[in-house]
């Protein structure tokens, strides 16, 4: 008897696709497929109910792509605000660098729990024209009611808690001892953050940003209240539905999907690749 494995017995490497062998494995794969298809149900319904001619006539109408541009611009501004404004907060939450950390976290969760419609109502009292902030904006010849600025504010409020929670998790996944080690090797905290913390948290941050992007692109509740004009894609869909019915709204749902999806998908692929590269 030989203890040496013959070549035919050697297993392929760890990246091989797991092979389905037993009946229970078949059942669990089938179960997963059912759930996946159920989750995709709305997307499938969208694709099966669209006709090319309706799509063409809707998208070739004058001004059809105006809302797309507005959504993309306000979404980009929202992401920039979140990244530069909320990343430090997420880092401090993850490192427990704030006094009474539970209070801070409860605040983030409270904003996460507010329904978008309620956020919109409350924003009227916060930044509406007759509030101190509104008056301040008025002095600067700005307004946070039915303007592009209002749209951006609504999107920031709808997506920020998702970004903060995601970014906090991304930073919490970085071992603080690595930052410590970088400092012992001569890096000031800021430099250690840039050379160690940020690169290690980037895949998680990218995922958090892409979730925030999806929230911003789909922001509707708060937008409906304080930024009815200029309309982004969600309001365009709502208006089409109100004015001409379901079938003319569907093409814009596809536009929303096509615009919102690439960024999360790219972030997902990229963070998976970063993980593989790290494993060598």
């Amino acid at each position: 008897m030989s203890w040496v494995a013959s070549p035919s017995e050697l297993k392929p490497g760890g990246n091989a696709v797991p092979r389905v062998r037993s009946a229970s494995a078949v059942v669990s794969v089938a179960g997963a497929a059912v759930i996946w298809i159920a989750l995709l149900g709305p997307v499938i319904a969208l694709l099966t109910h669209l006709s090319w001619s309706a799509l063409w006539s809707a998208l070739s109408a004058p001004g059809a792509f105006g809302p797309l541009l507005i959504s993309a611009e306000s979404g980009a501004i929202t992401l920039a605000v979140l990244f530069f404004g909320c990343t430090p907060l997420a880092w401090m939450l993850a490192r427990g660098a704030l006094p009474l950390p539970r209070v801070w976290e409860a605040g983030v969760l409270a904003s996460l729990l507010l329904p978008p419609l309620v956020i919109g109502l409350l924003l009227v009292f916060l930044v509406g024209p007759y509030t101190p902030i509104g008056e301040l904006l008025g002095h600067l010849h700005l307004s946070a009611a039915n303007t592009f600025l209002a749209l951006c504010i609504a999107e920031v409020y709808e997506s920020a808690p998702y970004y903060v929670v995601g970014a906090q998790a991304a930073f919490a996944g970085v071992d603080p001892r690595l930052e410590q080690q970088a400092q012992l090797l001569g890096d000031r905290p800021r430099r250690a953050f840039r050379r160690v913390t940020l690169p290690l948290a980037t895949p998680g941050l990218a995922m958090a940003l892409s979730v925030a992007w999806a929230r911003a692109m789909g922001a509707f509740g708060a937008v409906l209240i304080i930024a009815y004009h200029p309309d982004g894609i969600p309001l365009q869909i709502y208006n089409q539905l109100q004015e001409t019915g379901l079938s003319s709204a569907l093409p814009f749902a596809l536009v929303l999907l096509v615009v919102a999806l690439p960024l999360p998908l790219a972030a997902y692929t990229w963070s998976a690749r970063a993980g593989r590269r790290r494993r060598g």
């Binding site: 001892r177 080690q181 012992l184 001569g186 790290r278 494993r279």
Partner: protein
Amino acid sequence: MLDADVEVDRRDFAVRAAVQVARGERVALFGPSGSGKTTLLEVVAGLVAPRRGRVVLGGRVLTCTAPPVRAVPPWQRRVGLLRQDPGLFPHLPVRRNLSYARKASPEDAELAEVAATLGIAGLLEAMPARLSGGQQHRVALGRLLLAPCDALLLDEPYTGLDASLRRSLTELVVALVEARNVPAVLVAHELADAQAFADRLAVLDRGELLQVGAPDEVVLRPASRRVAELVGYLGFVPRGADRVAGVHPERTLAGAHPDRGLVLTGTVVASRPAGAGWEADLRVAGTIITCRLPSRPAPDGGELVVTVLDPPVLAAGGPAGPAGAVTRQATEAGERSA
């Protein structure tokens, strides 16, 4: 020269210790888990602030709690700390881990030399996740050596590695400390690791420095009963009203050799194979001692005569010695008792 004299508050007790380490000298801080060894290293590295004290490295005051108060941040201390977790940056290949504290240059002769010394020259483009535990430690050590480093602190770095790897890494560090001529401090809870590394052994227990001395001196002449217990004395035989003789299992001989130490006659309570010989528990004068024997002892209940080689005679009570002081009582305490 590293000179640290500090007091640090911990949850359950305060760590008080004064240690001086000359350039090129290797000191091992030895003690049970949770005795405050790591805390001391972290104070020297600037990661923990002491309640009171002073840390001076090569003439630079790194920490001083008395006016003028000084607390140099970790990134300006030039102190290398190696922990059990090598702490390699997982997103950087080995080469960039090694050159982390250096200006990037593709032709780095010193890097190549250190990598060759450490046996990792073939791994420079590999990612840390691909390395074995021993290789990761070599890279972490190389990273410290390539950084500006005036003192080397090793916090049980090789726990979890197998014995031969531990030995080769320890020999490597010893050679490197000699070549670099920097003070080095190793924290260990295994006596063998501490002895293999150190010129001087410092025994720490519950934040108190109990004894500092040459590794063999500390083991052969423990300053107190507590030190004796920590360095492996398993039995204490009464000698007079308030003294006991410490019995180390590895310092016993079968038979009576009155010229070499204390001859004891006892009853075998239990015996078991140990290494290449046997280990037996004897009941002697109402206490149990453990001794190593070359061959199988008499069956349980039988009588056995052993000689305890030159045993230290200690105060019968618990740990002795003034708090935090470097005690040199060992020689006086360990009077010959044969």
